[in-house]
């Protein structure tokens, strides 16, 4: 299919991009790597009147450490995130997630900011950002602001970004000393996750001292699993982790689609949480399949 007709502008600065978006009104959309928006346009499910190409804004590109945080520009590609040495400790989760997105071509074009702005509950990065208590930074005509990931994702393909705002990047706590893992269950290598589980775990000699679980495609937004997280604290054996993972069933019933019923999604989430937590804990005796 061919997209419906649209206008195209290439911005040379963030200010210019914001002006173009403002002038274009509510049907104007920023274009970064194009890996979420363009497929929707080709199916004519998205019909923006104006695309503002922000791909040339180098100020939005790159990964750098900032104290206990890592700041990642919105135009940083998945490939660059996957190889970023700044992502240490628990924040290494982002690199693990990014290296499993799509295929090499997608990872070299698709951007972190684009994935975040698209707010697809089946995308991998949002759940990881949620598990890491990341902040999303936004720029608008009235200035910049930060929104906690927990507040940013408000519904399927809906975020807290206002019309005319551009996602400029994310700030992620490093969580030094924590381990992480992402378990993505899919039928084909390049599919969206049927269920994805991001786990960030603080493993100590006495067992799990803290854990954060982010869930992909278990609801209309990426989800945390607070009941599981609470139950994991103090767990030191596989059986305890498995028991904690079962608390995922306390969450609202997940969606059903052609790949999985709600019931199966809950079951998968339990299995994957246990596996992800064991992997993130990094304790050999905890490993399962």
């Amino acid at each position: 299919m061919i997209p419906a007709s649209f206008d195209y502008e290439r911005a040379s600065s963030l200010d210019e991009a914001l002006s173009l978006l403002a002038a274009g009104g509510e049907d104007a959309r920023p274009l970064a790597g194009g890996h979420s928006l363009l497929p929707l346009m080709r199916l004519r499910l998205a019909r923006p009147s104006l695309l503002v190409d922000i791909g040339g804004l180098d100020e939005l590109r790159g990964v750098h450490a900032d104290g206990n945080s890592v700041v990642i520009g919105a135009l940083t590609t998945h490939h660059e995130v996957a190889g970023a040495s700044e992502l240490t400790g628990g924040s290494g989760l982002l690199a693990r997630v990014a290296e499993g997105i799509g295929d090499p071509q997608v990872r070299h074009r698709g951007t972190l900011g684009g994935s975040v702005a698209h707010a697809d509950p089946a995308s991998d990065l949002p759940a990881a950002l949620l598990a890491l208590d990341a902040e999303v930074t936004l720029a608008g005509r009235d200035g910049t602001r930060s929104v906690a990931a927990a507040d940013f994702f408000v519904g399927p393909f809906m975020s807290a970004a206002a019309d005319g705002e551009i996602v400029t990047g994310v700030r992620v706590p490093k969580r030094e000393g924590w381990g992480s893992a992402y378990r993505k269950f899919q039928r084909r290598a390049q599919d969206w996750a049927i269920v994805g589980v991001a786990a960030v775990v603080n493993w100590t000699e006495s067992g799990i001292a803290g854990a954060a679980i982010g869930l992909t495609n278990m609801g209309g937004t990426p989800l945390r699993a607070p009941g599981v997280e609470a139950a994991l604290v103090g767990a030191s054996e596989k059986a305890q982790i498995t028991a904690a993972a079962s608390k995922v069933s306390e969450l609202e019933t997940p969606p059903a689609d052609e790949n999985a019923s709600s019931e199966y999604r809950v079951h998968l989430a339990q299995v994957l949480i246990a596996r992800a937590v064991a992997e993130a804990a990094g304790c050999p005796g905890m490993q399962s399949g």
Binding site: I2, L268, S288
Partner: protein
Amino acid sequence: MATAEKYVGGGVPRKEDPKLLTGQGQFLEGLTLPGMLHAALVRSPHGSARINSVDVSAAAAAEGVVVAYSGADLADEWAAGLPMAWPVTDDIRIPDHWPVAQDVARYVGDAVAVVVATSRNAALDAAELVEVEYGVQEAVVDVEAALADDAPRVHESFDDNKSYTWALTNGDVDAAFAKADVVVSERYTQPRLIPNAMEPRAVVAQSVPSTGDFTVWSTTQIPHVAKVLFALTLGIPEGQIRVIAPTDVGGGFGSKLNVYAEEALCIALARRLGRPVKWVAGRSEGYLATIHGRDQIQQIEIAATSDGDILGYRVNIAAAMGAYLQLVAPGVPLLGAFLYCGCYGGEAYHFECTGVFTNTTPTDAYRGAGRPEATYAIERAIDALAREVGVDPAEIRRRNFLPAGDMVQSPGGLAFDSADYEPALDRALELLDYDGFRSDQAERREGGGSRQIGVGFSSYVEICGLAPSQVLASLKYAAGGWDAATVRMLPTGKAEVVTGSSPHGQGHVTSWSQIAADALGIPYEDVTVLHGDTHVAPHGMNTYGSRSLAVAGVAVHNACDRVVDKARGLAAHLLEVAPEDLEYEAGTFSVKGVPDRTKSMPELAFAAWTAHSLPEDSEPGLEASCVYDPPNFTFPFGTHVAVVEVDTDTGAVDLVRYIAVDDCGPVINPVIVDGQVHGGVAQGIAAALYEEATYAEDGTLETSSMVNYLVPSAAEFPSFETDRTVTPSTSNPMGVKGIGEAGTIGSAPAVINAIVDALSHLGVTDVPMPASPERVWRAIQAAQGGEA
């Protein structure tokens, strides 16, 4: 020795590949003609709906639009509806099938209007402006639901949704079942599949109004057949239609073995408008408007002794035809009708099939066409029998194999040429290390972990070389099964092969070059193969059903022999000896006992062209033709083995090994044969694990793109292990059989059998296709007494 086999059997590089790999393929989307217009179709979004009104005025007024038509506007274009060429029974119900629906739209995707514009974009944009008022009716999409007494009728003019029932009985079936110690009774579902040729369909039609001539370029597998059927559908004299399948057609798998609405429509529009008209399918549009495959419910019963010796078979099939009957759709189940006994013996056989209308995209032949379905049923059921009687699955196959030999009578009624089934099974078991595998499996089970392994077998036999024309007549097929070739020596000593086959990825240019180069004793590079244009290659029955080598390839071989015969006469004349005094080897005639007195094929080609000195009664030129009608089908066979690892916690299946031992007779090009096996196996595994087209109750195709219709990629497969046994066919002088579909036919049951084997210790006996993780997980839960 008549032929020095320098090229045949060798893995010469495919002549087709350099241009394809460097982006120089000549595909139809790249064809632009002066004044060309573009058509976009408006398609019904309803499974079943009366077309109350169609208002094309807004579309017609849109920028770039030349004209827009409803189905009624075009009604007088058709001399006949879209053709159906296989009326399998005398009382088959054949509905009218207009290229653009006039009164009722019967599936989501049924065309209801067309917009013609100066660009494709303008046509697509304007198509959204056509206003259709529908009277939505209840749809029926499930083949069994469609057979219910109170089912909505797809065609109001018929009393129910049955198109036909076709039956076959050999021997005393009741007696065989009466004396059986065990009867296994199985029910299988063949999911609906969507063919995914890499190149979507496209057509360009051009008219010359002053002469009434038409040229039609189409991404078709069947340019010659289409030419005849276009003439009938549009009322154009056949001699005034030229059909061209472009030099490069990007795959078909049966989906381009048809005469489609868009082809007829573009010709009709070109006729009305006097300008060339082009239509190119989008991928998702193709999912609605190109034939689907499979979609059957199968019941199979096997009667056997307590030792597992099979006595008889009873098979009953309900096969979805979709909303209309496409070109050969009713006959597709018949291509498997004789194979529900596989390569096994028995005394009696009954097969019955009912073709059923549903409010879905029409089905038709998809890679394997009838044989994958049959092979799946028998190869799953024989495993069920093995479990029932406690015999190893490899052993039960061996025990029931038909004896080796030629023209071996099968309970299904066919006489199999070149039957020798045990060596392929033995070789597969050897490659597998069967004993080692079973020992690994026992260890895993002992360990009790969540990763369990299983092995599955599939020993298939299939039908290629379609087909002896007289046999086709007995099956009520409306055309013949011959094919044609002309081989022409050019004055410079090169050769031109004109073939009736119409390659669309098979590599006929390469294979036919190998055959001709060896027969004529000239370099492979000196052979040109012409195909696909009815003005260049006037005769052919084209490419489908793994028929090309065993029919068209044999025609090339025979035509080459005739060229050599003529050349012998000329050589004898020029050397002033009797023809029988000449020896022929590798393109050179030499006088027996005087080896330095020779004439080479290039010399003879030039002499035949100058015609300065010819034998009496001989005509200038060195060329010959052959129209070959095979005396029998060919019956390739083999054993495939799948090894899977199943995650019992999630139901995920990992295909660990895949072994294919095939017997397609002598191989012309091992690279091409391996490629066919690899692609075919991938398509069969896709059916087993990934692909399934599903409809919502209202007739909406849920799997509308590759996002949710799960075509696997290379990442989903292990490296395939292939090997061959070689048992020449006795049905043709080359001994060749066919390999285009064998991989698809053999593979799906091997994979499902392997999954069941991996979980058999948990009590699992069946997992439906495609074996999605959830289905596998539920099968485990059900076997363990869980609620799933």
